[in-house]
């Protein structure tokens, strides 16, 4: 029974990771950007929703406001920061102007360092504005409500989170697979230069991808804000789990990300059931084991060499 419970709780936990990882996976898949600012941005979304709720808005309305605001923010961040950084990756890839004392430019590290800079600066700004006190988005009794599931009792909020995660991932996946814009996004991921030759503006398309990613991230931030206490630095705590979900699942596959989140969640809860000290450790070990056996992740969308 405990094992069953651990498994079920793990799946729910995985939903939480997957929701957070969805945007990460999209940005990673389309632009190969390892976005270290993802965690703190989710926290920013939580603060913003909390602020709106404190102004008297109902939570659903706060979400309706925050999600588009984050989409716009994502668009701007991509155009203003990540696109210039990506230009360097490509400059380096093409050999570009690499004359001179062997110095090659930041290259593929440019987006990583830019996102790192954003993460560090934003975390501190949040602390400056909101102080380091821990906060939570009030949910009334929702947060600690449980629903009976056979012999088990599972949390209502985690259940909602899982459902939302599946819905968001299905939505984004469908968008990528079925719409012309989604197709163009995948094309840009493969070869931005060639995509431009078909009439797609790669910089715009990247920005659209980031906008979508930020919208999902804002949603994830709201759920984080409801399910735990957050502080400006909280994002770092879960960022690695989200990355693990992305990588276990495989590059460029959103269903993979969901599967990755669930694998990680279950590994953590089952691990904790074996030894309460080792839940997180067990998650990490399963992550490494998956990579040893399948270095491309569970469901990679095999991208050509």
């Amino acid at each position: 029974m405990d094992w069953l419970n651990a498994g079920v709780q793990g799946v729910l936990l995985g939903g939480q990771y997957a929701l957070l990882a969805c945007g990460l996976s999209l940005i990673f898949g389309v632009m190969r950007i390892v976005n270290l600012a993802h965690g703190v941005l989710a926290v920013l979304a939580a603060y913003l929703s909390l602020f709106l709720v404190q102004q008297g808005l109902p939570l659903w309305l706060a979400v309706v406001v925050v999600v588009p605001v984050f989409a716009a923010l994502g668009y701007a961040v991509q155009r203003g920061l990540f696109n210039p950084a990506l230009a360097q990756v490509r400059a380096r890839g093409a050999g570009g102007d690499s004359r001179g004392g062997g110095s090659r430019g930041a290259g593929e590290l440019a987006p990583l360092l830019v996102s790192f800079g954003v993460a560090v600066a934003l975390t501190s700004l949040l602390q400056e504005v909101f102080s380091a006190d821990t906060r939570r988005i009030p949910t009334g009794d929702l947060a600690s409500a449980g629903v009976p599931l056979g012999p088990l009792s599972v949390g209502l909020l985690p259940l909602i989170t899982l459902v939302v995660a599946v819905a968001v991932i299905a939505g984004v996946q469908l968008f990528l697979a079925r719409t012309p814009t989604g197709r163009a996004m995948r094309a840009v991921a493969d070869d931005p230069g060639a995509a431009a030759l078909t009439g797609v503006d790669p910089r715009h398309m990247y920005a659209v991808a980031t906008a979508v990613a930020f919208a999902t991230l804002a949603l994830a931030g709201v759920f984080v804000g409801m399910s735990t206490q957050f502080s400006p630095g909280y994002g770092d705590l879960v960022l690695l789990f989200a990355f693990e979900a992305v990588i276990i699942g495989g590059l460029g596959s959103l269903w993979g990300t969901l599967a990755g989140g669930v694998v990680l969640g279950v590994a953590q809860t089952i691990g904790a059931q074996i030894d309460p000290q080792s839940g997180v450790l067990a998650g990490h070990l399963v992550f490494l084991a998956v990579l040893v056996v399948r270095p491309g992740g569970l469901l990679p969308r095999s991208v050509p060499a």
Binding site: Q88, G100, S103, L240, I247, L281, P295
Partner: protein, 338 residues
């Protein structure tokens, strides 16, 4: 059999570095002499301690640059070895009773010894996978360390070997020792990169497959880089523990060490020996100058990182230096032919 079907015509002159490099190297040597023989006598003990941190940062930056800039291994998990080095130092100095200098060097060796088996895991990954994978490996190191009671669990360990020594003696020893270590690491990295092995490593970084077809032992080369880079992180970790007199798992295994390395290398200029030196000085100076600002210090740090990447993609060294190299590793061909 072999190539020379065309007789050698107008043999070229091949040079590595010019007079500028010699002058620059002379300048650097002078700086080292000043640091060794003058600085300790004119600044405070506190300044010496923070210079030790600068030297540790140079070692961290230089060895991470070896990994990422020359080996193409973008590890986000080098804090694993900072931690191993820190813990090894304290165990060796306190429990085993080794003299501190020997304990630091041994910590480097232990770091290398741990890195060797780990490399077999890490090298199954590439790109973003490798970055996240190494980060997870470092977390595993931290979590496992926390579960070992003998290592103080979540509380960490204090370094007690120095209790009772005169503080001037202690600070002076740590200072000179760290300086020597930094010079050795930078010089060693330079000589490595200047050697045939260094050429092979650069080839591996640029294209592993092509390097292999030209006879470069790719796996061995990458492993060498990973092990050497990790040994460097462990040395730095030992120095940090030596200077802060203790370790806690949260702090010594903190990903912020790797963040600092990335900052130092990219802001300074990746793929050059000089870049990490510049980057470390910038990082350290920012820390010294801005730490009193509290929160704003980190805001500035973040903004500097973004600004340098976007405005000076080749790093600060690339900005000032152009073709000039203090540590010439590249070849210049002055063709004998027209």
């Amino acid at each position: 059999m072999s190539v020379p079907t065309v007789p050698p015509t107008g043999a070229p002159t091949i040079t590595r570095g010019g007079r500028g490099s010699l002058i620059g190297a002379g300048g650097l040597a002078l700086v080292v002499v000043l640091l060794a023989a003058v600085v300790p006598y004119v600044v405070t003990l506190g300044a010496l301690s923070s210079l030790v941190m600068l030297f540790a940062l140079v070692i961290l930056g230089t060895t991470w640059n070896l990994l990422a800039g020359y080996g193409g291994i973008v590890s986000v998990g080098q804090q694993a070895y900072v931690g191993v080095g820190g813990y090894a130092l304290i165990q060796l100095a306190d429990a085993v009773g080794a003299p501190p200098w020997a304990a630091v060097l041994a910590a480097g060796v232990i770091g290398a010894a741990v890195a060797l088996p780990t490399s077999y895991l890490v090298f199954r990954l590439a790109g973003g996978y490798l970055a996240i994978g190494t980060w997870v490996v470092a977390e595993v190191f931290r979590l496992v360390t926390m579960q070992i009671d003998g290592l103080g669990g979540g509380s960490g360990l204090s370094l007690t070997a120095f209790r009772g020594t005169d503080r001037v003696d202690r600070v002076a020893f740590v200072y000179w020792f760290a300086l020597a270590l930094m010079v050795a690491v930078v010089l060693g990295t330079y000589l490595l990169m200047r050697s045939r092995v260094g050429l092979g490593l650069t080839a591996i970084r640029d294209d592993r497959v092509a390097a292999g077809s030209l006879g470069v032992a790719v796996d061995r080369g990458r492993r060498l880089v990973y092990v050497a880079g990790s040994a460097g992180a462990a040395l730095a970790g030992a120095l940090i523990a030596l200077s802060t007199l203790g370790v806690t798992p949260g702090s010594i295994y903190s990903v912020s060490w790797t963040a600092a390395m990335i900052f130092i290398v990219v802001v300074g200029g990746i793929g050059t020996i000089e870049g990490p030196l510049v980057g470390a000085v910038v990082y350290w100076a920012l820390q010294q100058a801005l730490a009193p600002l509290g929160t704003w210090y980190l805001v500035v740090l973040g903004v500097v990182a973004v600004a340098v990447v976007l405005l000076a993609p080749r790093g600060l060294w690339g900005l000032v230096a152009g073709r000039f190299q203090l540590f010439p590793t590249t070849y210049r061909v002055r063709s004998g032919r027209i």
